[in-house]
């Protein structure tokens, strides 16, 4: 396989050398070196250096493009606002650099579903929405499977999908003739085409070129064939490729993780271009041979396997189970894994003001652990409460672990009340403390001189608590 330099070794100097070095500031940065540093940190796009588009820099520009090419190619599925980018990964491990393009979650429909079931499944996928510390978690794609084997039926189903949603979709049919029927129903939608294998690759490659759509290469548990197919398709002119090494349940989980891990390591650490494509996982393989097993069990297995593969390098997961309870942990995990690892764990301590509190407004406190703070803040905000919230320095510990680990102490709470200046803003001296800090309530009263009211253990109950228990 061909190799390219590992991304890890890229330094600002490497980039700077290829820039115009005119310090023209057109990119918005002070000088070319500052721009080079931002480029290496992936904070700006190379295209914002407009002089690079001049003919004299053409060579430097293409060298820069090559230099900045991610270890895993970025592949776009669909068109318009909801188009979804897959891959584009720069690194293997999360602590090396922020992961780009969160794993896409696709939910399936089939061409044998009654029309109302098909549309209701799509609507459910579209409407999946969960508010989580300032983010809205959503699902991304529809996988349209041909279970009938009938090209006309499949074409009708794809047509129905395009009429129902603007979400990008996957054409799932291993028979090229059937796949083409599906593509004909959506000739400009740029769906992901599933899949080229060692039998049908030539026909699938023609379809991918003709309809300008990205193509999945499928070779279950055979990585030699997988990269051979990728090599063949590249030579054929197909540029946007996704790799499917197969997803296996139960005793096959280890094999599955090994294949994903080896491919990603080969791409990121070994610079192997044929491994450097987005990876597709199909946790819905849990439904193969389901037999009499209860649906909940299959959904459970499908869900935990999807989560493991979100951690281990899947760029897209295809699911059948579409229950909220089984999808929510995956969606939250994906959000967690794809956050910037450089993001601080803590928020700044001090007094936060919500709404328009008066001198009788309640005073609460919480920890400076970012997740705790955002959760409490969002519960206060979304209920439009007028309140003061003191953020106590707990070195980024949550309430319960802070109390247990002596990061959240009565001394720190008393100190935070003093320095917050809240004593000049309210007439009363009553502090509502988190239920999980009840252990230190007596000490807080002693040290701060404030009367302590033990509040709820979970901030979702703050609104109810204030109505029932708050008397300034």
């Amino acid at each position: 396989m061909s190799k390219r330099a590992s991304m890890k070794e890229l330094s600002p100097i490497d980039v700077y050398k290829l820039l115009p070095k005119t310090n023209c500031k057109e990119c918005g940065q002070e000088n070319c070196m500052a721009f080079a540093t931002k480029i290496v940190n992936r904070e700006v796009n190379i295209d914002s250096c407009t002089p690079l588009f001049k003919k004299e820099y053409a060579k430097a520009f293409s060298q820069l493009k090559e230099l900045l090419k991610p270890a895993v190619q970025e592949v776009t599925v669909g068109v318009g606002d909801k188009a979804k980018k897959l891959g584009g990964k720069l690194v293997m491990y999360r602590h090396e650099f922020t992961y780009t393009n969160p794993t896409a979650i696709a939910i399936d429909v089939t061409d044998e579903m009654p029309e109302n079931e098909l549309t209701s499944r799509i609507k459910k996928t579209e409407n999946f929405s969960f508010e989580y510390i300032g983010y809205t978690l959503k699902l991304d794609m529809i996988a349209v499977r041909c279970t009938s084997g009938d090209a006309e039926k499949f074409k009708a189903a794809v047509k129905k999908v395009t009429e129902t949603t603007s979400l990008p979709f996957i054409i799932c049919a291993l028979n090229p003739a059937v796949a083409e029927a599906g593509l004909m129903a959506a000739p400009k939608a740029r769906p992901l085409l599933y899949a080229a294998n060692s039998e049908n690759w030539k026909d699938m490659a023609e379809l991918a070129l003709m309809y300008d759509c990205p193509l999945v290469v499928s070779s279950p548990n055979d990585l030699n064939t997988l990269v051979s197919l990728a090599k063949t398709l590249l030579a054929y002119g197909v540029k946007d490729i996704v790799l499917d090494p197969g997803t296996f349940l139960n005793e096959g989980i280890g094999t599955t993780l090994n294949n994903f891990t080896m491919l990603r390591r080969a791409a990121c650490k070994g610079g192997e271009e044929l491994a450097g494509f987005p990876l597709m996982a199909v946790p819905m393989a849990a439904w193969i041979g389901k037999g009499e097993t209860a649906d909940e069990i299959v959904k459970w297995k499908e869900a935990y396997l999807a989560s493991m593969l979100v951690v281990r390098y899947a760029d897209i997961v295809v699911m059948h189970g579409n229950d909220g309870w089984s999808l929510l942990p995956i969606a939250v995990l994906r959000q967690n894994i794809y956050t910037d690892p450089r993001k601080p764990v803590a928020v700044a301590p001090g007094l936060k003001v919500f709404g328009t509190p008066d001198e009788n407004a309640p005073v609460l406190f919480t920890s400076n652990f970012a997740l705790t703070y955002y959760t409490v803040a969002s519960d206060i905000e979304s209920n439009k409460l007028n309140a003061y919230l003191i953020v106590v320095e707990t070195e980024g510990s949550a309430i319960d672990s802070g109390v247990a680990g002596r990061k959240l102490t009565a001394e720190r709470v008393a100190e935070a009340i003093k320095t917050s200046g809240v004593e000049g803003k309210v007439k009363h001296r009553k502090l509502i403390i988190p239920g999980k800090a009840s252990r230190i309530s007596g000490e807080i009263e002693e040290l701060s001189g404030w009367k302590v009211q033990v509040g709820p253990r979970d901030s979702s109950e703050i609104p109810k608590y204030l109505i029932e228990k708050w008397r300034p």
Partner: protein
């Protein structure tokens, strides 16, 4: 799964091979009746008929004009598995001791010893299978509904709770949380705590984790009494923290042949620092580290990256981080999404809760955790099944995989 003698069906499960399929736990989440649902997995798997797509001839004519340069047959490339070697390995730590070793447990368990990142079995096999210790509390504590329904009969009776954890839920170990010693709660004496531990040692024969209340002074006193009363049992003392009298604790842990759990709040420098202080008294084989577990949705990303970095550093030669890792996975239940009654589209929480715990556990399994402190029986069962499969591997039916396209789900 081994074939089991039908006569043994009524026996309580003692190993994974005999435990019920996860479906039984979940399908019956109203009520847990494990013995009634013994069933071999294979009995449930029906043979699947291959999909039809492959058998259908193309009806449409595809463009056949091949441009010059396009390959007409498949080009060959070889995938070279990217195998690496690491200069160092993770320390092995033995928990529990048999009679022959001076203790009373039926077996000791070794954790750690890894020579590759977690489950890189394409590189090297797993050395010691990660294990699960179940939480047992010595007094009533707030528990989520999904957990409570499985333990309601034993809350307040730690010995019975421990028995349930081992015999019904398949725990490798039991963690005794001595919450009642908290000076701000019941302020139970070290003598009371010794009694509780004594009862649990009588009730079960697995190795134990001894958990304190979080008060650095009281914990040190109670741990000392327990270490001295039960020498050579090789308890995991959970935990030794930076604000305790580390020298005093390390000395009585060492003198009595126990193991220290070195706990730090999500900061690898602090973890190194505490481990260095422990090295003055304890050997590498006497320390497990807890780098802090945050719940899915509430900082799991930090916990994951911290642990993954620690494991990589340990393998790359940073001996101060080359210790087996423990995770307080029960913290998953601190996430409200694990226990809260939510809008109908997210229900039932009886499934959402344990899935939350197992998702937290599996994420950290992939970061390299060796010992899981857990709560919900279904989450424990799944973690153990997955771990067993990851360690043992097994054949995959590659040809069947493509059937996902046509499966009638």
């Amino acid at each position: 799964m081994p074939h089991q003698d039908k006569k043994d069906d009524k026996k309580l499960p003692d190993t994974l091979g005999l435990s019920p399929e996860i479906l039984d736990l979940l399908a019956k989440f109203q009520e847990i009746e494990l013995e009634d649902f013994q069933m071999d997995v294979k009995e449930l798997e029906l043979s699947f008929e291959p999909g039809m797509a492959g058998q259908i001839m193309p009806k449409l004519k595809l463009p056949s004009a091949v441009k010059p340069g396009k390959p007409i047959s498949m080009l060959q490339a070889a995938f070279v598995p990217p195998i690496e070697t690491y200069p160092s390995k993770i320390a092995e730590v033995k928990l529990g001791a048999t009679k022959a070793e001076g203790g009373t447990r039926s077996r000791a368990i070794i954790i750690g010893g890894e020579t590759s990142p977690a489950f890189y079995t394409f590189e090297r096999p797993v050395v010691h299978t990660p294990i699960v210790t179940l939480d047992v509390f010595d007094m009533e504590v707030p528990l989520s509904k999904a957990v409570k329904m499985h333990v309601k009969d034993v809350v307040g009776d730690p010995a019975a709770w421990a028995k349930l954890a081992v015999e019904k839920f398949g725990a490798d170990m039991v963690t005794v949380h001595l919450i009642s010693i908290d000076p701000l709660l019941k302020d139970a004496t070290p003598k009371d705590a010794v009694k509780t531990v004594e009862n649990i040692l009588q009730a079960v024969d697995v190795p134990l984790v001894i958990g304190g209340c979080g008060d650095p002074i009281k914990d040190a006193d109670v741990f000392e009494a327990i270490c001295n009363t039960f020498p050579n049992e090789r308890f995991l003392i959970s935990s030794i923290t930076r604000d305790m009298d580390v020298e005093r604790c390390a000395k009585y842990v060492k003198k009595n042949g126990h193991v220290a759990l070195s706990f730090t709040p999500m900061d690898l420098n602090l973890a190194r620092e505490l481990n260095r202080r422990l090295y003055d008294f304890l050997g590498k084989e006497d320390i497990v580290m807890d780098l802090t577990t945050a719940a899915l949705g509430y900082g799991l990303d930090y916990a994951f990256t911290n642990m993954e970095r620690a494991r990589m550093a340990g393998l790359m030669g940073d001996s101060e981080l080359a210790h087996p890792m423990s995770s307080g996975t029960t913290n998953a239940w601190a996430a409200r999404e694990a226990w809260l009654k939510m809008a109908p589209e997210w229900e039932p929480r009886e499934l959402r809760g344990p899935l939350w715990e197992v998702t937290t556990a599996l994420t950290l399994l992939l970061a390299g955790v060796d010992l899981f402190m857990m709560m919900h029986p279904a989450a424990v069962k799944t973690l153990k099944d997955v771990t067993k499969n990851l360690v043992n591997g097994g054949k995959v039916d590659a040809a069947k995989f493509a059937d996902w396209v046509t499966v009638k789900a």
